[in-house]
Symmetry: C2
Subunit: 402 residues, 2 copies
């Protein structure tokens, strides 16, 4: 009767800090089949294990359909939590019992829950700058005072963290990091830096939130332990996900923590958010990941493919970007980060990008505090090599023209 | 290294209003295979359409696996939103474009999002008393001032709502209702009462949030229109779900609203919560529900089965409960509501229920404001008739002993 009403509604004050992104609007102007986009954070759909997931869904629904379709407990499906505990031990050295692992509807929900459970309006949260946009959104939704600390090629700078911890008044609620192949920069934190940060955090009773969506996607270099696995570690929360090793459309991730009290609050928080993560999807993921040999070979296959795409992008950037531009050389993940010569404003550049049929994400929204205008993020996992080569050539042309 | 730390963490103040339920703890003492439980809110798993969902998953993954497993837009899968728009028009008379329908990870997420988007600490929200616990939790997580209004056999009392609206100071954020087969009471709101409430809400610029998880599960009586479909309606939000017509483990629901601005905030809020609802599950649900003839026959089958269980419970209550006890006679849904003679405290009764091998939910936590001690909720959908008969006999024994 009234399907397009717009009488003013008094929204919660938190919504003032949570606005739709202006860049998302500009990106809409580049949505066209002939545009080569490096803007999304998408894994390559051609490497999704569709057949294995189909077989897993089939097996789950045939062997225990009623169980897979009924309500479940908030904490998550027991066998998947046990698998995750083993997986964390083997891959990043974390020792945590399944009883402190919560299955979430994607890692984004883990970030939202940490915000819900820990952040009062005005509370300080420390992040790397630039930082993952989804995390900034999740924390800003709870009206956090987000403090950004610059990183160098070894990751977040420990000296600046120490300075900040000495300066900020009340105890910050947590430090949020993506130590492996960070979004947006692609940088990884060195083991030495992990030790420094872990020690510093422990000294200051600072909870370390380690988001590790890309950790399994390593194409070069050595594996590093999680910060929480280091001898000096204090309390930590760690987010892992099936999105990058299986597929994001399943929305299944795991949030582990060293802190029993935090775990219990996260469970209570999740119960009020959505009761529990889809029972069916949890079982599908368990069915797939518990085939260890298959999972290993699948991850090897993605690593090879994405590694080749990273190499193609690094090679063509060298050919097409002007002198004075530089970029990161990630050992894994989905993204690399370009810094153009000082005068270029990448938001302006994006406005003109449609005419060159190429798209990227300007760096500005990722920065917290000081905002350089000349950075941008490129995704190298989604497009195949020939498109990467053509797209980077177009980007070079666009930059040359600007 | 530190897997069982418990150093004190400063949680957000909202967590003080969000505590694990004491009754949940007592219910754990009744978890045993020989206990007949009427406590859960579970649909009967034996009526889940496992084979159809298996076939739907198969079809979705075979026809477009990559699409079904990739990230999706926050608003939800287009064809499912279109189906939902048609479904709302046909079943409850709501006219709303698909562009104002948001697919959520279960209706609980819809309630959480309404809280997130609308409630500042101390804001007033009006509910029926007794009310659905999950809604109370969702709103309390945002520190709402929840005001309960008693209902009679026609639903929430319009006269008391008018009084409350005249008394409460600042404009309440919304009125939350389950007009069909309410949880916990099983009562439905009469059409006359819907008209009164809709008119009153419009006069007071009060958003009506109508939660309708059970609407399709009618076993007797006439269908009623949604409050938002009445000529006098002002702004509304309406929550529907696949949980009761297909299966809750899928966690797929739809939230529609007449208010464009509210819709946009809900989308922004959901983006920061979990990006989007599982792409795979949205497509599975669409694949299943768009087979209209099958869906109709499936719903008919559940109605028959649950209707027979309701009848069995009503019949045996008559036989086993003492004089002075009375209960609701729901036309649908999953629950009925028992009021025992005045002196009985149903929380105490539950403590002794384990010895009689029967379980239920005491009424106390559902009440907002005045809390009678002698009420309890019974689920009649989960157990089959012979178990209902035996379980109610046990309940009768327990009450007689108390």
């Amino acid at each position: 009767m009234n399907a397009l009403s717009a009488s003013p509604l008094p929204f919660a004050s938190r919504m003032a800090s949570l606005r739709p992104s202006a860049i998302r609007e500009i990106l809409k102007t580049t949505e066209s089949p002939d545009v080569i986009s490096f803007a999304g954070g998408l894994p390559a759909a051609e490497f999704f294990p569709c057949e294995e997931i189909r077989a897993a869904a089939d097996a789950v629904l045939q062997s225990d359909g009623p169980g897979a379709l009924q309500y479940g407990i908030t904490e998550g499906y027991g066998p998947l939590r046990e698998w995750a505990a083993g997986h964390l031990r083997e891959t990043v050295g974390l020792e945590v019992p399944p009883s402190q692992i919560l299955i979430t509807h994607g890692s984004q929900q883990g970030l939202d829950l940490l915000g819900k459970v820990l952040i009062d309006p005005g509370d300080t949260v420390i992040v790397e700058s630039p930082a993952y946009l989804g995390a900034l959104q999740a924390f800003q939704a709870y009206q956090a005072n987000v403090v950004g600390i610059p990183a160098d090629e070894e990751g977040l700078r420990a000296d600046l963290l120490a300075e900040t911890l000495a300066q900020v008044g009340p105890r910050p609620k947590f430090l949020y990091l993506i130590p492996n192949f960070q979004n947006p920069t692609g940088t990884s934190m060195s083991v030495r830096r992990r030790r420094e940060i872990a020690r510093l955090a422990r000294e200051h009773d600072l909870l370390v939130v380690e988001d590790d969506p890309y950790g399994r996607l390593r194409y070069s270099g050595e594996e590093s332990p999680a910060l929480g696995a280091l001898p000096d570690a204090g309390d930590w929360a760690y987010l892992g996900t099936a999105s990058k090793i299986l597929a994001p459309g399943l929305r299944v991730a795991w949030l582990a923590t060293s802190h029993r009290g935090l775990y219990e609050k996260l469970v209570t928080g999740k119960q009020s958010c959505d009761l529990h993560t889809s029972t069916l999807n949890q079982r599908i993921v368990w069915q797939a990941v518990s085939q260890t040999a298959w999972l290993d070979s699948h991850i090897r296959r993605i690593r090879q493919a994405y590694g080749a795409r990273r190499d193609a992008m690094l090679r063509t950037l060298e050919m097409h970007l002007p002198k004075g531009a530089h970029w990161t050389h990630p050992d894994g993940g989905l993204f690399l980060w370009v810094t153009l010569p000082g005068a270029v404003d990448t938001i302006e550049l994006l406005r003109q990008a449609g005419s060159c049929k190429v798209a990227f994400v300007p760096g500005a929204p990722f920065w917290v505090g000081n905002v350089p205008k000349n950075t941008l993020r490129l995704n190298f996992s989604h497009a195949a090599e020939p498109l990467i080569e053509e797209g980077i050539a177009r980007l070079g042309l666009l930059v040359a023209r600007s």
